[in-house]
Homo-oligomer: 288 residues x 4
């Protein structure tokens, strides 16, 4: 049967030691199917693969296969935001929320996807900009976090939704999370789980000083502005998916909006997000 | 100026002692504007008003004015579900989330609304049915709660979203809440605040036995089925907005869906839901 | 080697189907050690054992062996409160917090305890009385719970610590828990884990209406009075360790105090409560 | 009537602008009572007062009066730890948990305390040392916090209670709090309120990765060791009462123990800690 995809770009993170074995297996399988393969980083274990920048993936490939863990898919997604290139995740470690092809059944599962037996799972990204200059701070698939820059301080800030004042807070930080990120840092901060097909964003405070503070869930179509107070000299750190961040000075503000283009993740047809939730969160199984 | 509304139905709850004074003032004002007035219950303080059933309001009135507190608006909304009749709330007690016309500024604020200076605020209702018979259990503007019938017991149940198994739980109960209800009982159970314009539903467990249980926010377009376990003899009580409920036997199941018609609440043009949240939850004001 | 105990009373709960096999094994072993055995209920599987009331255990036995789960030990402890009789728990089901002798290693572990190789673990009980009449409501090893009698209502009550007013609350209920009970219902209500050697009591509200409500930990030497409000007609149910309870009328009050005598649980010498916490709560193991 | 105290040391924090007016009033009153007055910092508004180091207070004074807010009392307490010198707090700002003499009733309330009408309120401190070298890191009246040094990272650590392994965690940090500190940062992290006369310590994790993590309350007589993991390169910051901290390298460990000497705070005889809790946390008042 003809493959639905003829040119595949492999996306890896070089600092991930356990993916090499998987890359070799994936390359072998793809070549056996006469599929052209590219990779974003040179690897000794697959010396003959063309190395191209991920920014060239949309031109040369019709599928990205991210090999690693959820973090690898987050990276690939941020870099491919705004392109239409779909991403398939191969999970080489513990059970992930995003990558569901497993090494144990690699040939069978990959084969299914390549022959067109897959489901699309659209996820949205957030992007954060400086409010005054419009300069991009970063793109996030999980969350944008405004955190006290020095961990012994707190930050004091105002939040506006579509320009309307919501509240002022003193806290260690604020997590603005997508549904994808609602099972990541936002959950540690006490946020709810948001179903991945709901177009919503969670605002969850980290160690809020106000006892009546509660996580807030709003439509992802809203524009969220966070204004750092000028009343203290505390700076804040803005991070996207936990990567090294941008320092915010007192009085500065950031704007967080939904990225205009969704990311397309591919899953096996029998993929069930709830079964992953049950497994990861050790929830109750069916009553027998 | 001509009124946008010519026939007004007043909705009251007879057991509410403090609304009578407000009813007299509202009737006086409406009569001064040559507006026809109906009421759902006979009151000695307004002996000459036509008493009609609320089920006749849609035929005879073009506006319902609910006089009381948030509970009064909840009642009116459930009864008017499926009609197009808008509801304006007059608040006679403590600050409410739903009713924003105050007695102190009654003439001015009522006058504004009657002259067409108002905003529409659409809220959705839930309705709960028995899964096997399709029989209606009730309609809810805040929440449907499945609670252990005997307060010393817990309930054991499975939850399905659009027929897909979510999880099984042992808990004191489960709250299925609209955004409107997210600041009511669902919040006591640890649920997040959901913005009233997000088409979403919160599932929050009451005293769950599973430590990794977290509130879940899903699209309100989903169908939610709750199946009471046959493995214990514990019955459950299903309540809608906290009214006397329906007993669920072991093995029985209920279905919760979004009501097909929204409720239209009217607000003053400068109505700001966030300022009510700040006031009710004692959140931080603007930094000066 | 001579046994530290010569007369053992077996305590079982008749409704527990899985303990019979264990009882047979325990009786066989005890008889092989020439230890006299009594039991609190007749069982067909051990027809020749003397059946005596648990109230006679202190006279005729120098050790109680409770066979079942944590609930069985809770029962035995409440019934033996005020006697000096030690309790050893044999766990026939899932890992428990209280019973640590396992069937798999029954002979070896029982042998160790009988030869004097054990540790004593003192736990305290609470007892609840009617404030006006001093009548006993019950004794609890886990918790005393004041809960709305009808699950759709809330209760309104005042709490006093040593006669000093603490606060008034509206909630589904209030859990007053020992350290033993802090990993049971109190934890579902959001209470902290209290180390079992701390002489303290947790007050944790169930679904409190006040957003700033937080669990409170106080010395177990305090006297706690709960006064049910006369302002609503809602009755409350007072339960001890979740057993069928006592109805409290509006205006009535209960007093909760530490029982004057501790319970002595016996454990293997290498018993480690923290390892049980880690296993039951799925906490992190040592970093390798 | 003779004063119970003849030599008073005033303790202030120089960076607190609002206390000067209060200092003048206190000095005037003390001089009118023929009481000798010392101060820890020179102030232009009271030019004739002897300035001495707080380390000389125990030699020259029989009472310390801390003028400022709760933070001022925390500072004085840490510096006077190990001396027997009592501390009276005068509150010049918002209602505090520790300082209860108010400016409005200064003469009356101070007069009462000086004439011996006061209650002693003993509070304990924690001190943190490096486990290997025994070097003192700091003393804390509220809390010792082990926090990720870089706010975008987490820390990974093991906790031992009296040398016994409790658990390993990945989190933003860990708060080890006294009862005094249980209403401060530990509460923002989700910890319970601990009554100030309970000899206990709270361990509350900040944004723990483990969903089943719960705050833990243990006896303050325990020794707590925190070992930073060598498996990541993340450093941690150890702070005492939120002051600039000590950097912990991977593999290093700290020990937290109760300080051997209590601090004596003086209060008015009708001081009621619960009424302060009700006021600060906006808890329910008596039902009328």
């Amino acid at each position: 049967m003809a493959s639905a995809f003829n040119n595949v770009g492999l996306f890896i993170r070089k600092d991930d030691p356990v993916m090499e074995h998987a890359v070799v297996k994936v390359v072998e399988f793809l070549h056996s199917q006469a599929i052209s393969v590219f990779i974003n980083e040179p690897l000794r274990c697959v010396p003959n693969i063309d190395v191209i920048s991920i920014s060239d993936f949309p031109n040369k490939c019709d599928l990205t296969i991210a090999i690693g863990g959820d973090g690898t898919i987050l990276s690939a997604s941020r870099m491919l935001a705004g392109t239409q290139l779909a991403i398939l995740g191969i999970n080489v470690g513990r059970l992930g929320f995003l990558a569901d092809i497993t090494l144990a059944k690699l040939e069978q599962e990959l084969s299914a996807v390549l022959s067109g037996q897959y489901r699309e799972d659209k996820r949205f990204l957030l992007h954060a900009t400086m409010l005054d200059t419009n300069n991009l701070i970063g793109t996030a698939m999980n969350d944008v976090v405004v955190h006290a820059h020095q961990s012994i301080n707190m930050v004091e800030f105002e939040t506006y939704i579509n320009g309307r004042f919501l509240n002022s807070q003193r806290a260690d930080g604020l997590v603005i999370s997508t549904p994808t990120g609602s099972t990541a840092y936002a959950m540690s901060a006490g946020g709810p789980i948001v179903d991945v097909d709901l177009n919503a964003v969670v605002l969850a405070s980290v160690c809020p000083h106000t006892l009546s503070n509660r996580p807030l869930v709003i439509s992802a179509t809203n524009t969220i502005d966070i204004v750092l107070s000028e009343q203290t000299s505390n700076t804040a750190l803005v991070t996207c998916d936990g990567r090294p961040g941008h320092i915010l000075q007192p009085g500065q503000a950031i704007r967080i909006e939904q990225h205009q283009d969704d990311i397309k993740l591919l899953h096996l047809e029998d993929h069930d997000h709830y079964s992953i939730l049950r497994a990861k969160l050790e929830w109750g199984k069916k009553l027998t």
